[in-house]
Symmetry: C3
Subunit: 252 residues, 3 copies
């Protein structure tokens, strides 16, 4: 059953499946083979399930309670978890897998064939190149760019890997095939050409390992360690996850 | 009275206030509590006054003669002066205060809780982080990014301050809390980690003070000093402002 | 004759000329003096031929078989060759000349008064400043920015020149007036302040000439030279062009 919250001007394919309690804004287009789970809200001027020869007749599926803001474009063929929260002008290409609780800021560009874990947050203008692998609870700040072609142009793409809890600050550029370790932090404006081990702070162009990330202190409270950030920053994460983080902290 | 220049396909809340002599383009949405002063022109596919829990029922007010181009998104709760001129795909979040005569280029992103003075011009892809304070007659060139979180992620944001007449060239990245002095100039591609005093030229990653900005000469006329730019560049500024600049110049 | 593939919700000026076999998507606006040749396909929410005082009543012309994806904005006054292929949210300003077979990725911004050759490909977020001259078979990767104002703000713009077959990797910034030679390659994240001769690899901020580009080998096949790339990469180019490239290669 199609609920009553679909705006009259929205164009909905009869081959799209829309659960109850879904809102769709004005002028939005939903193509064939789109599945919108209950609780999803889609803003105006979005195009969902754009057909592509790279994902012929493949489903674009949104889990429960996703919030897709205006002017987004999602191609056919991706699987999106629950509670994705997008800004405006976001584009997600074909055949990506996105976990639960993720956030894609304004103009984020997920270029396709990517795997993104749970609760990973991309700020504005984050560009995730094809074949990137981004873990859980990762933070990608504005204008972070993950590349994939070592000798461009070519068809030999090697995606970047970003492990859990890593933080890439604004304008960080990561070269193809680089692996960024769990709990590591990359300073703003860095160009990362070599792998970064777990728990390190890297900075510069080209980036160098500076120190263990857990040496950094909060600027407004020098008694409080900045990293791993999950011991001190909990806004927007589920209670059971936060509880596990606090247990881990107290056991250390 | 609603003028006749509102396109039939525009969706206008009865709780929006639209003065005379306003144009609104096709498919644009104007929500509750938006105030459009006379002489404003809004392009197609814009969404003005997007509701937000961060600005519950707060007015989004545009002064006279603003030109809002297509595909813009303005949230509720900001106060915009007269004659704002935007490019396309611009997004302005909640609770910002913008002066008169400003310009926001294509895809500018004003992230909210910002204060921007008069006649400040942002080129394309300028990203102004939450809590930034940008003065009057400032120039932010393409892909300038003002950040706000010293130890991300956190809730202890410290905005950047850009003083009057400062010029930040293309792709400049400014770290949280940095203060950029009046009449200073930052070279393209710089990463600014420390304050820049008044009237200096800074450059590099990390940026260093190179010299007084007024040493720079015009490339096509070495007799003419490049800075302060207000002594030589006047296009688009009001006659009384230009006249005051010229008086200041002749008194020096 | 207007074909039947124009969506009912599209707004088409009677002064636009639309050849047979053209598709126009929902909610798109086509203004006066737009010429769409046969085989063109235009997505949703596009605005083509936006009027401007910089191109009064000038034609915006698209050659055959162009694919213009959703949310694009093209101003009046540009001449576009055959088979342009755009991503989403692309903006092309007034009075540019674009050859055949070009590609403009998501959010590409062609700022006007540019000349772009044939088969030049811009990835996402490429920003081509006013008065740039970009040759044939050039590759501009994500977030490449071509500037034009040596002492900003000014009206003495000097465009960048990029010669045939050059490759600028991700986030490369090119300063005003710089000339980048044929077959040259610029490494990711570089800031190019000086001219680069033909066939060189340059890298860094500021960029320096590192070596001849043809020293680079494919990462997955060290026997294969990476550059000139036209000897090894042919996807998407016409058969006669590829054949000429292979002849050139075998004659060397």
């Amino acid at each position: 059953m199609i609920t009553s919250l679909i705006h009259d001007s929205a164009i909905i394919s009869p081959l799209a499946i829309i659960e109850n309690n879904v809102e769709i804004g004005p002028y939005t287009i939903v193509h064939d083979n789109v599945y919108l789970s209950s609780g999803c809200s889609v803003g105006a001027y979005c195009e969902l399930g754009l057909p592509s020869t790279l994902a012929e007749k493949k489903e674009l599926r949104f889990g429960k309670n996703c919030t897709i803001r205006s002017h987004n474009v999602f191609y056919a063929g991706s699987q999106i978890g629950d509670s994705l929260n997008t800004g405006h002008y976001v584009c997600v290409r074909e055949n990506s897998i996105v976990g639960n609780g993720c956030q894609f800021g304004n103009r984020s560009d997920i270029q396709g064939d990517c795997v993104i874990g749970n609760f990973t947050k991309c700020h504005a203008d984050v560009h995730i190149g094809k074949m990137s692998k981004v873990g859980n609870y990762v933070w990608l700040f504005p204008e972070v760019l993950l590349t994939n072609d070592p000798i461009p142009p070519s068809t030999n793409l090697i995606g970047v890997t970003i492990n859990d809890f890593a933080v890439l600050a604004a304008k960080v550029l990561v070269l193809p095939g680089v692996v960024i370790g769990k709990d590591s932090v990359v300073g703003a404006g860095s160009v990362v050409k070599e792998n970064i081990p777990e728990g390190k702070l890297a900075n510069g162009n080209p980036s160098k390992i500076i120190c263990d990330a857990n040496i950094l202190r909060m600027h407004n409270n020098p008694k409080l360690k900045g990293y791993p950030w999950r011991y001190r920053f909990h806004r927007g994460y589920p209670a059971d996850v936060v509880s596990a983080w606090l247990n881990e902290f107290h056991e250390k």
